[in-house]
């Protein structure tokens, strides 16, 4: 094993890119201080990281797919989302207040947090990078239709767009419309149509033709 046969770049051994940005350095410094001062143990931090990594948009997709096939569950999900999560084995207890926004033919919801990046993390895991971007956070509130267009959905004028700026203790999840042509599909098949982005409201779920 030798790199000597390769054309020389003048720098034979590539360095791993491990340079941390100022925020990452600050986070690591705070973590070390918390451990050093006995506020948290390294194991507790790892546990929380594992917990967050296990939370994925698949949880939201499960909730939505069941709501599509089971009208009683849908009623419970809208009336008491945290209890409905518990029923599905999803732990939403760390959310102060959880609200599910039902899309209809005439109303579409879009969720943003203009102040930071509030997101229903206990259910969906970490938000996508675009959700935290300055661009999304500023434009979702004053040009929601333009944002949705960029994600691929063109909404007619007679559909009302409701933007929810998640400014406080409430976490929002969109219950998207069930796509046409999905009669007879199982809950598992339906759940695959429910994308993370459709749970934030920037798009509708995948059309069935996209999944043959």
């Amino acid at each position: 094993m030798s790199g000597h046969d390769l054309p020389s770049t003048g720098h034979e051994h590539p360095h791993p890119k491990h340079e941390l940005g100022p925020f990452a350095r600050r986070v690591y410094a705070i973590r070390e201080l918390l451990i050093e001062k006995g506020v948290l143990s390294g194991e507790e931090i790892q546990q929380q990281v594992r917990f967050m990594e296990q939370r994925t948009p698949a949880n939201g997709a499960k909730l939505v797919a069941r709501a599509w096939v089971d009208p009683d569950f849908k009623a419970r999900l809208l009336a008491n989302p945290k209890a409905a999560c518990a029923e599905m084995g999803i732990d939403a207890t760390s959310i102060n207040e959880f609200v599910v926004l039902e899309n209809t033919e005439k109303v579409r919801h879009l969720v943003v947090c203009t102040l930071c990046s509030c997101y229903p993390r206990p259910i969906l895991g970490r938000p996508p990078d675009w959700y935290k971007s300055f661009n999304y956070r500023s434009r979702a509130v004053n040009d929601p239709r333009g944002v949705m267009r960029e994600f691929g959905s063109e909404l007619p004028e007679d559909v009302e767009v409701r933007v929810h700026d998640s400014t406080a203790d409430i976490r929002y999840l969109v219950l998207p419309l069930r796509p046409p042509g999905t009669q007879g599909m199982s809950m598992e098949e339906l759940a695959k149509l429910v994308t993370r982005d459709s749970l934030v409201g920037v798009v509708d779920p995948l059309p069935t033709k996209a999944r043959s």
Partner: protein
């Protein structure tokens, strides 16, 4: 619970002060409608500084007509913006805008 009920017209205080505030700048001074009373929550303006957040504050879901927030809003006149606002940031709106 709280001073306001669903359907009430409210104005967001046009106050500006330093520190941790959960009322976005773009809706300050705007008039909207109370849609829902979320309940009482610890005050994040105090929690942010390691204090106890007491007394709790009533939190409301308030909706606004997009065209009343952004003069040049390009979407449908039906489009609305919803935000969660604590009671101490709201005052009764005496007249419609």
């Amino acid at each position: 619970m709280g001073k306001f009920k669903p359907g009430d017209r409210v104005r967001v205080r046009a106050e500006d002060r330093p520190g941790h505030i959960r009322t976005p700048f773009y809706i300050r001074g705007k008039v909207g409608t109370v849609e829902r009373v979320h309940g009482e929550f610890l005050n994040p303006e105090l929690l942010a500084y390691g204090r106890d957040g007491l007394p709790k504050r009533v939190l409301y879901l308030v909706s606004f007509n997009q065209k009343e927030i952004w003069e040049e809003y390009g979407g449908s006149p039906k489009d609305r913006l919803y935000a969660d606002i604590y009671e101490h940031w709201l005052e009764a709106a005496q007249h419609k805008v």
